[in-house]
């Protein structure tokens, strides 16, 4: 006969075990939510592709005209598309995470699946919704003369690593949205800082070359790190892979630890 165990305590090992054992359902749930969002109207599927494409066109036109060539990244159009794709993935995840607990509480009650696992489903859903962007990245690269290279195979690995960052950000945003109901309003402003500080349409290395301290701070932005890696993987830009990956891993570990603590407290906090 099993001994009695606390019903509300959980351990990191139990969480990992549940995510692994429920991986089929978590993927299916993410796919179902994506399908549901696309069935809202007949044109939803088209907008899945049109919306990010329009953003790329607008940013490209405006910043391509405004910014001098010396401040833009190499191969501006492809660099811009990669930057928008990666930032939009982050933005989708952070937006979904603000509403996370409102949905996960009900699901946890009826299925006993923990919010930790459900957050993984949110990351998978984010990736599904960003799939069109990845197609646009490689399609545009080929059209604009970028030759396929071996480093393209690094993209799935890159996105797997990015997934850990997205999961960590999801934990943080969900927890802060639970503790502070007005946090989603602040998140919009914070995301603008991330957007402009990620080198999507301007070259951080070139503009901040004379400001080493600012450059070091900018290099800590994990979205910028992934954009650097993404551009290097697609176009073969010369970067110090080891340095960027190490920095990204360090930042992600810190965010994961912070997110885990906040999420743990938010998970069982008051909600009538």
């Amino acid at each position: 006969m099993d001994r009695l165990r606390s019903v509300s305590r959980t351990s990191p090992v139990a969480v990992l075990r549940e995510i692994w054992s429920r991986k089929s359902f978590l993927g299916f749930f993410a796919w179902s939510k994506t399908k549901a969002s696309l069935s809202e109207s007949r044109t939803s599927l088209l907008w899945w592709i049109i919306e990010p494409s329009l953003k790329i066109l607008v940013y490209g036109a405006i910043f391509g005209l405004i910014l001098p060539a010396s401040t833009r990244p190499e191969n501006f159009v492809v660099s811009l598309i990669i930057g928008v794709a990666i930032f939009e993935t982050y933005s989708t995840q952070s937006g979904a995470s603000t509403r996370f607990f409102a949905q996960s509480d009900v699901i946890e009650e009826s299925t006993s699946i923990s919010p930790w696992s459900l957050m993984m489903s949110t990351v998978i859903e984010t990736y599904l919704k960003s799939a069109a962007l990845i197609v646009i990245v490689f399609g545009a690269a080929l059209l604009l003369g970028v030759s396929p290279r071996l480093s393209w195979l690094a993209f799935p690995l890159l996105f797997a690593g990015y997934g850990v960052f997205l999961y960590s950000m999801g934990l943080i945003v969900a927890a802060l949205s639970r503790f502070f109901p007005t946090f989603p309003r602040l998140l919009g402003a914070l995301n603008r800082v991330v957007f402009y500080g990620s080198g999507i349409f301007w070259s951080i290395e070139r503009v901040l070359a004379s400001y080493p301290t600012l450059l070091s701070i900018a290099e800590l932005n994990p979205v910028y790190q992934i954009i650097q890696l993404g551009r290097a993987a697609v176009m073969g830009n010369g970067i110090d892979w080891g340095h960027v990956i190490a920095l990204h891993s360090l930042v992600t570990v810190v965010l994961f630890a912070v997110g885990g603590l906040l999420f743990h407290h938010a998970n069982k906090s008051d909600h009538a």
Binding site: L4, V7, F25, S32, S39, E109, S110, T111, H271
Partner: protein, 235 residues
Amino acid sequence: MPDPQSTAVLVSQVSKTYRTYARSPGRLFPQSSEVPALRKISFTIGQGETVGLLGRNGSGKSTLLRVLAGVLAPTEGEVTAHQKPRLLGLSGLQLPDLSVLENAELMLRAHGHSRQKSRNLAQDLVRDADLAHKALLPYKTLSTGMKGRMSFLLAIINQPEILLLDEMLSVGDQQLQEIYTRWIDGLQASNRTVIIASHNMETIQAMCSRAIVLVNGEVGFDGPSGDAVSFLQSN
């Protein structure tokens, strides 16, 4: 001290206080406020018992069930159990824009069934719910009663060892009530532990040998269900 060999659920000095805001008329800013929902509740549920949970609106029944299910952490005290209790309600995993069949399959996958088995079971379930003619239509097109029927049949698919039922007796037509009663009888026969929260005192008396009455978040009575009903009616 209860014998852990026969105890299914042990509730020890559980309190739950919600932090919220109180807004007085005319004041611009709300003031923080605490609402005690449960106050030092203790009881044990034995293996195979079917226990009713009674109380007026706002007495703490739903809060207690959510604490028992591990969805809500108590402010004080602890709930321990032989296995994690499952809370069955009529809300749940629903994606309104997907079809009735797709929603059924989703819930079945959530309960751990394989893809093929979920598809087959979903079709059976939709037929049993008398919704075969609406199987491919969006879930949001169902009436409240239809949703209740569907949700109930989905909720009872898997039967964990310890079940918590929150107000499921209050909804549904006569037919659904009869299905529900037969299902509870089946649970009792299989020696599962069941805690039923309801306002329906007659059904609690019929289904449960024991009932706990909550009064303002405290255990006001814990004993035979007939006496519990009398206690509730007299308070």
